[in-house]
Every structure is written in structure tokens, then in C-alpha cells.
Symmetry: C2
Subunit: 324 residues, 2 copies
DNA sequence: AAGAAATGCGTTAGCACTAACGTATATCTT
DNA sequence: AAGATATACGTTAGTGCTAACGCATTTCTT
């Protein structure tokens, strides 16, 4: 299922779907067996059954709902003849919900059905339902201590406050080089053989021939990468630039690009070019701003299928803009 | 929380509450950060973002919702300027949903916020959320193979078809003797010292003095118990009769009672009595039907605080009804 | 090719729930 | 004791979803 791929982002949706499935199943069973009750009534009815007459708010709190939900449900239960509302003589604000005899009779007949529900859920879901119950209980407890919204806002603030830094290659970062590049390659193109070779062994294909690789980190996250490949002495290619989809727009790409250009200068390079695709509009704009100029034709003898854009680094005042 | 005590019966309610909490938290964050998006939109928008324009039904299926839910959500998204509807030229029935440029821009800015959501959920819920995800995924898969409703109906049918049998005491059943009696004692009264002694060691307190204990089984479930205690030679007390709340109304109580009376006769008893409480109306009715007669006063020297009813076994034609 | 069946989708009515409000009553403050 | 504040509850409007329906179009059947 697609939602599974969204992981924690779609957890709410999936929990709701599961919940609806369970409600629906139980209602189906009640109906098939002629039980004059609905699954949504159960928390209120069982609570009143277990602890006796109780005012609306107390019921609401016990079953984790708003008082108005309970009040409206009580209307329905009164109409169904299952509960009675009474004023609390000790406190005129309270309206005490009491089970009718009919409800007592109905509930006591429901025992075997409830047993079947428990048993059926166990049969259908096996041990998973136990793990689900445990996990739900643990999450409920955790939520009571710290609302998720606070945690998210704190995490977001921490992320925005985190310094964006560019660091050189280190072996521990190799998997990030691969991950970050596969992300855009797989989304927009297909992974060519030459890509796979470079991503599998960047030390050999890039560093050994006098190139460099940089990574952008935001806090503890590695959010982008870019490589400088020495094609022939003094001639460098800017390549394998990728910023994680989740961290675009934070300037990581530009910082990586600037660092690569600085490295090109530090190494006394004569020429710096890149190949790209016309479908990557935002990237092309960034390259232009950094000093790359679009060339009128594709680079002769390009390595890549996808390359239909050829740009050369010609910052203002260094070389005239190519005509056309 | 009360719902936790209901176990599998209230799983649906709890999942819904969790789901609502998560939706609410994310919406709160979106609002706090000025993101012009709502949490409910995410599955549709992300799906269109990931796989491109798609017709309504396909989106619905991918995210596990009905087509009309998606259709109505699409209305809203169109109003918000996030998607466009287009007729599929190849199939005039289909209306293809396409993200607008505005949506693309909005979504690509949301990356850090989504990272924060994932991170915040992890911070707040810790490892529990991983277990929850795993359990949810496992349950989803199990549900696809076997709908819960079927399993419940099958379990119910099996229960009703199961034979109700009465079996004598066996050491392996001791915990059931305790469990079944504590259930009604704790609900209606309080557990007196004498109760605890008997329940902890029924072999010594009941069997050794010439008594007997019976259990009712329904399929594999032990659903009721009852004891015959020899108070003095030939004088027996019917006591510790309990039927699981979940299995009342199936005749287990009557079957136990009949078996106890038969045992009383087999042992050549002279007198059989019981003590009970006037609050246990259904039980008293059953005793009457089985041949017990209400006595005008409490039994002299009763062991129990709760006893305000004294009955003696006097089946029709065996002894005259006590006057008064 | 023509009719029958299936499919895709929008619409409507209805349900469960929430947020926000209003009213009555109780409790606190001085 | 009197006013201020808090509490308990019902009501209303609105949201997100489903089930059921109806229309348009496509696909199957012969």
C-alpha cells in the first residue's frame, strides 16, 4: 500500500482506516446477530455498566471524548431506550446517565458476542493485535506526557536554527553520496551504468583522479552532496550534485556549488563545466547565478544519455558570453 | 484510562483517538508555521507528487479511501488552487487530478516541516512509534487476507455450537474457581476473609470435608463453577456459585445447580441449604426454580456479612412450604 | 452492430465528531 | 452577602467521511 511508504507522515490516516475497519466489522456482527446496539455505544454503555450511573463529563473523561460527544450519544441512547437522564439532586448542573433495565438485559445477553469479538480479532490478526495494543498503550502514555505538536515544533525550530555546513568527503559519508544521487536520478531519469559505477566507488572514480566531493550537513542530517571530477589536467566537471528532496530551498545546493567552485580555484583549474538536463529548471537557474553559462550545443562526447544541457563556468569579466 | 481495560473491544475507539491526535498535532504545526495546507490533504497531494497526474479512482485506491472521499477532497483542493481536474482524452469517464504549479511550490517548501514531523513524532513517542507502525502494517496485511467480521462470526458460531458440559474438580481448574468467584464478589460485595481462605485452597476447605466442586465448560472456555460444602454429616451448603459475566444466559448456572443437587442426592444428604443476597435477583429466581424455598429469616450463625437470604432445598412433595 | 453489463465519477443524505457558544448552577473571593 | 469566576451541560454549525444513487462512458456479449 502506498501509505506505508510515507511512514510516520501517514500514520494518522492508517490508524483511522484500521479503526473504521474494526468499527465496521463489529457493527456488521451486531447486525448479523440481531443485537440492537451499535459499536460506537460500547464505551459509554460498558462504562455505565461497570461503574454505575455517572454524570456526562465523567463519562466523557473516562472514555476520552468531549462532553458534547457524550451528550449527543446520550440523546441517541435515550431514544433507543438504553439510558435515562436524571438531574443530580446534589448538583443541579449535572445530568446523570443511568442504564435502563432494558440496557442491562441487552448488555448481559451480549457476553458471548463480546467473547466472539475478542476471539475473532485474535483469530484474524493473531499476535499482531497484542503488539498493536501494547504499542497503542505505550503511545497513549507518551502522548499524555508530551503532546506531539510540541515535539514537532521543537524539532522544526532546532532544524532551522541548525548551522548549514559543507564538509569534505569521508568514508563514513559514502552511503550518503549514493543515497542523495539515487534520489534524483531515480525520480527524473534512469540510473545509467556510469552512474552506478561512480556511486558505488566514488573514491576511485572521483577522488583518485584528483577530484573532490563535498557534503552539506544541516545539524546531524546529511542533506546534500556534490562532486568535482578532474577529467583531464586542469579541466574539471561539476557533477553528482544532489540535495535531498526534503531539504530543498534551504540554500544547501548553493553552498555546495560555491564550495566546489572555490575548490576548483584552489586547485588552479583552467576550465570547469557541467552537463545537465533541461528538465531540471531550478538547478539550471542556480548554475547561472553561480557563473555558469549555457552553451549552444551539447558537449561533444558526453557520457550521459540524459544530458541535453552543457554549461561552462565563465563568471562575469572572465570570459565573454557565448553569442547566440 | 478506562478504555485500556476493555482490551480488544475498544481497540477501534483508541485507534481513532490516536489518529485524531496525530492529525490535530500536524494541523497545529502547519498553522503555526503558516503552511497553507491541511493534514488530511497529504495522502492525495503526496501521491500526485510522487507518481504524477492520476484519475480519482486510482488515487482513492492507492490511499485506501472511497472514490467519493477523494472526489470531495479534490473539490476542496481545486478551490485551494492546488489541483486541476481534467477529462482523460482516452477515457471520457475519468477525471484526472493534476497538481498545479502552486502545489508543486508549496510541497517542495514543506520538506523541512515533514522532516520535523517525523523527528517530532520520534522524539515524543520514541521507539513505540516504530512498534506501532510495524503492528499496524502487520494488521493491515492480515485484514486483507481475512476480514475481521468473518472471523468474529465464525468464532461466535463455534461458541454457540460448542457443547456445554459440567465437569468435576481437577487441580488444573483451581485458578478458574478463584477467578469466577472473585468476579461476582468484587462486583457486588467485598471479599470477606472466609471467601479468600476458601478460594485460595478449595481442596482443603471444600473437598476434604466431603464436598464437591463442579465446573461448566463451553468449548474450551471454563465459564462457571459451583461448590457443595458438607457443613456437618449429611448437611450440605450450596456455595461459591459463579458464572462468568460474559457467558450468562446460556444455561450454565442451571446446569451446575442441577449437577450439585444430583451430587447431594448421590451422597445421601439430609439437608441442602444456601445463603445469598437479595441483590442477586436472577440467581434467587434460579434457586427457586430448582427447588429451593426462601426461609423467613437469615440462617442463624451465618458465616457471611452479605447474606440476607436463606434458602433450603425442599422440592415439591418432599417437605411442606414453610409458613409465613 | 446493438444491447447488456461494468466502470468512473459526482452528488446527496446522513453519521460521528469537534469547536464554539449560551445558560444554568456551583464555588470562590472579599 | 454579592459579585466574579468556574463548572456542567446542551445546542449549533461545520468537517470528514461513507453509502447509495444516477449519469455518462466504456467494455463485454452475441
Amino acid at each position: 500500500m502506498y501509505l506505508e511508504s510515507l511512514g510516520k507522515l501517514a500514520l494518522g490516516s492508517r490508524l483511522k482506516a484500521l479503526s473504521d475497519h474494526l468499527y465496521g466489522a463489529v457493527d456488521q456482527v451486531y447486525q448479523a446477530r440481531g443485537a440492537r446496539i451499535e459499536s460506537r455505544w460500547l464505551p459509554v454503555l460498558r462504562y455505565l455498566w461497570d461503574v454505575g450511573p455517572r454524570p456526562v463529563t465523567e463519562v466523557a473523561e473516562a472514555i476520552g471524548q468531549t462532553h458534547s460527544a457524550v451528550s449527543q450519544l446520550a440523546d441517541k441512547l435515550v431514544r433507543a431506550g438504553m439510558v435515562k437522564r436524571r438531574r443530580d439532586p446534589a448538583d443541579g448542573r449535572r445530568s446523570v446517565l443511568t442504564l435502563t433495565d432494558k440496557a442491562h438485559r441487552a448488555l448481559s445477553e451480549l457476553g458471548p458476542l463480546w467473547w466472539a469479538v475478542r476471539q475473532g480479532v485474535t483469530d484474524a490478526l493473531g499476535e499482531h493485535v497484542e503488539r498493536l495494543l501494547d504499542a497503542v498503550a505505550a503511545c497513549e502514555r507518551a502522548l499524555r506526557e508530551r503532546p506531539v505538536a510540541d515535539a514537532i515544533l521543537a524539532a522544526h525550530a532546532a532544524l532551522l536554527a541548525a548551522p548549514l555546513e559543507v564538509v569534505p568527503y569521508a568514508p563514513a559519508l559514502r552511503t550518503h553520496f549514493r543515497r542523495l544521487n539515487l534520489q534524483w536520478l531515480e525520480r527524473h531519469f534512469r540510473v545509467e551504468d556510469i552512474d552506478r559505477a561512480v556511486l558505488d566507488d566514488p573514491e576511485r572514480h572521483i577522488l583518485q583522479s584528483g577530484g573532490a566531493i563535498f557534503f552539506a550537513r544541516l545539524g546531524k542530517e546529511v542533506v546534500g552532496t556534490c562532486a568535482l571530477l578532474q577529467e583531464s589536467p586542469g579541466v574539471f566537471e561539476l557533477t553528482k550534485m544532489g540535495v535531498d528532496e526534503g531539504f530543498r530551498g534551504l540554500g544547501a545546493g548553493r553552498r555546495l556549488l560555491d564550495e566546489a567552485i572555490a575548490e576548483f580555484h584552489r586547485r588552479g583549474g583552467r576550465m570547469l563545466f557541467l552537463e545537465s538536463s533541461s528538465t531540471l529548471k531550478p538547478a539550471l537557474r542556480m548554475y547561472e547565478q553561480a557563473g555558469f553559462r549555457l552553451q549552444p550545443s551539447v558537449r561533444p562526447g558526453s557520457h550521459y544519455e540524459r544530458a541535453d544541457v552543457y554549461m561552462i563556468y565563465e563568471p562575469a569579466g572572465r570570459a565573454p558570453r557565448a553569442p547566440g
